[in-house]
Symmetry: C2
Subunit: 130 residues, 2 copies
Amino acid sequence: MPGMEPETDLVERWRSLLTCYNKVACDLERTLQEAHGLTLSEYETLDRLTTQERDKRRMQDLAETMYLSQSALSRTVSRLAKGGLVERTHCEIDRRGVFVAITEAGRQRWTEARKTHLAVLAEHLTPATA
Amino acid sequence: MPGMEPETDLVERWRSLLTCYNKVACDLERTLQEAHGLTLSEYETLDRLTTQERDKRRMQDLAETMYLSQSALSRTVSRLAKGGLVERTHCEIDRRGVFVAITEAGRQRWTEARKTHLAVLAEHLTPATA
DNA sequence: AAACATTAGATGCGCACGCATCTAATGTTC
DNA sequence: GAACATTAGATGCGTGCGCATCTAATGTTT
């Protein structure tokens, strides 16, 4: 009898996703803040900016690869800019657009934070973690 | 050469977890709110109260099976109580403790919301979703 | 039993979030 | 080219969160 109780499976999968995610995210958030003064979103933003080869990214492109709402990303970039980890430059061709570029300080901060990030991840999801 | 690049794998797993979780959670949050006036946390709390057989649960026991901080759970239960979906009763033996019991209205609301919940889950994580 | 430590849960606080809206620039239509 | 629609990103607003702290009840020590 196929499809007997797929609901239970579904809910169970979701619950483990929920639990697992929150454990990791919470720990990451706390640890990154303590050790490097970065929010998880801030770290992830820097990460996108270093990983993707281009040195400049439009907000929009950045948004596509992220999980944040448009407004949340906007504010995250604002915070990073205020801290000097990122620079905003107007797009010449389309002056509505905004380019975001990581600064040297940003790259440095990211390099340090990366170790912490990896350590926390390793601690939580090394084996098969649902 | 074992352990060559476990870092990349680790980060990739995390990223997909992050993305997947946020998609589902965000949709769930929005849909549950619209259709039933429930927060995700509120729904999950009701879910714990109906699924676990006991009719009464101490805050502490409830907290163990959940992903929320103590304060967040406390406020979630407050909201549910204000809406009449849950009842708090003092524990006689240890008067610091608080029992939480789902009400008939709560059970009803949960029953309706469950359909929505399952539908959203099905929509997002039917196949192999990382 | 008086003083101290611990524990259960509530609450003040600051913060990041999503939604809706606003502003300014670009595209489109007549 | 003037009026309207659309688009990129910023901002007002309300909300739920975690952390730290507070309150009240229980345990423990002497």
